[in-house]
Amino acid sequence: MIGKSNRTGRRAFLKGGGLVAAGGALSSIGALMPAGKPEVRERKHTLWIRSVDRPTLSETTPNYTRFSGRNMFALYPELKAQHDGEGSLEAEQKSAEKRSAQEMNERKPGFTLADRQLGSGAWTLMHNTKPGVGLLSWTRISVRTPTELGTQRHSAPPEEMANLVKSAARLYGAGLVGISPMKEAYVNLKQPGDDPHEPAKDVVFAEVDVPAVTETQHVIPKKMKWVVTIAIPMDIDLLSRTPTTLGEAATALGYSRSVFVVASLAEFIRGLGYEAIPMVNDTAQSVPFAMEAGIGELSRLNKLVTPEFGPAVRLCKVFTDMPMACDKPIDFGVVDFCKHCKKCAEACPSHALSFDDEPSFKTVGVWNNPGHKAWFEDSYKCLQYWQKSGTSCAVCLTSCPYTKGDQAWIHEGVKAVASIAPAVDPILKTMDDAFGYGKERAPEEWWTKDGSSGRRG
């Protein structure tokens, strides 16, 4: 005979189990349904993403100064002359173009005309603007000011102002948004132009009311004390087709979306009665600002890794004088994980990434800003591979175990375990390999695949 108390216990247990099963089944059905609206993620206050006072890997030495800002493309011919003693960027580009034409004629998968032009279309916004001009103008483009609208500029407590800006940024397409205080040390000393032979402009801070772009200078008002840093997620499935011209479209789209988001956000802020400077990779170092704003941590890639999208993001930012509450840096165990993983360094076709166990102050070349701790990369080798392959690669981004789709729940759990229990990091890396993550996908399949597969961003 079954006692009453036992019967009740079992019934309650079964009821609970039934609820769990029903919940799980509903969620599974949800996972089977096609993806709906574009993804916008609010950072949840999870146990595994800890707020910290200082970003991880933020140690600096007294020789940490503002970076010259000379970009790699401008530096390349000079570096090549130093390194190889001959050749030039122009000559290499010409040879790459010849090879590219041949690949298109042969319809090589990932390098066909359609593959190439997919990226060309995606570059449209980014390639038709430049720092301080057009959509990236440092002054108002077309928005009407509060005065023109017969009202006063918007004013509210800093937390509310921060929420306004974050909500607007997410609407425009930001995947992650964070706010940090201005740090002049992260702002470049120079702003190079399009022409590598043209002298770079000085980036200066001055006691002025509005930002300005002159013939020789980019002037940032000292009253701009806040930086909004934004991460734009890249399409992981498309990115996984790298290193091909098809896969490059994911990078291109990330940049063009960045232009749209920062341009829109800057106009929004100006419309509230404040000044705003939108920027993508130009003018300042995006990674340290993103670290300060709690968007992610510095990794072995010497790039930012976010908890949500891994390193598969493009960073952009807006400087403003609008007072806002700032976010705190985060720690979710990336540095410890990178010490054991090294998957990106193994996957890098140009062997440009460090295999060192520990990050250090040891830089590799003039493209690295000295005085801070990192796993410094060999950008010369990296860019040389770009020239050789005719693509902008991105294999390091796709091979990172933090770069995952958002359909399988287990990813979140694994990232949490890596954050809470670093001792199991080597096992997690082995599992990542065993499950076949981070492998290049066949480019020719992209055009015919189911549109919902693994799409993010």
């Binding site: 079992r10 189990g17 769990v20 099963a21 599974s28 996972a31 789709g405 359909q407 996908r441």
Partner: protein, 81 residues
């Protein structure tokens, strides 16, 4: 189940509390692997999906065998000892 000329006697045996706990954990693990398999398919991660389906299938089979296997009655146990 025992049988006499006129009736059947059905014995419903109580499973211990830990039996139900293990069953609950098994159900959760099963759901996790099925979800991982479905999610991985949607992510285009073929190998991860295949491994997850295999783990889910093995887990399902093991769970069913453990749940349904005939258990010894007290009489059988006493007779053996």
């Amino acid at each position: 189940m025992s049988e006499s000329a006129e009736s059947f006697t059905i014995t419903i045996r109580k499973r211990p509390w830990w039996g139900w706990t293990v069953a609950g954990l098994w159900l959760l693990a099963e759901l996790l692997f099925v979800q991982t398999a479905v999610g991985s398919m949607r992510e285009g991660e073929g190998r991860a999906a295949m491994i997850s389906w295999i783990v889910a299938a093995v887990l399902l089979a093991a769970g069913l065998v453990a749940w349904l296997r005939p258990q010894r009655t007290h009489k059988q146990a006493n007779a053996q000892s």
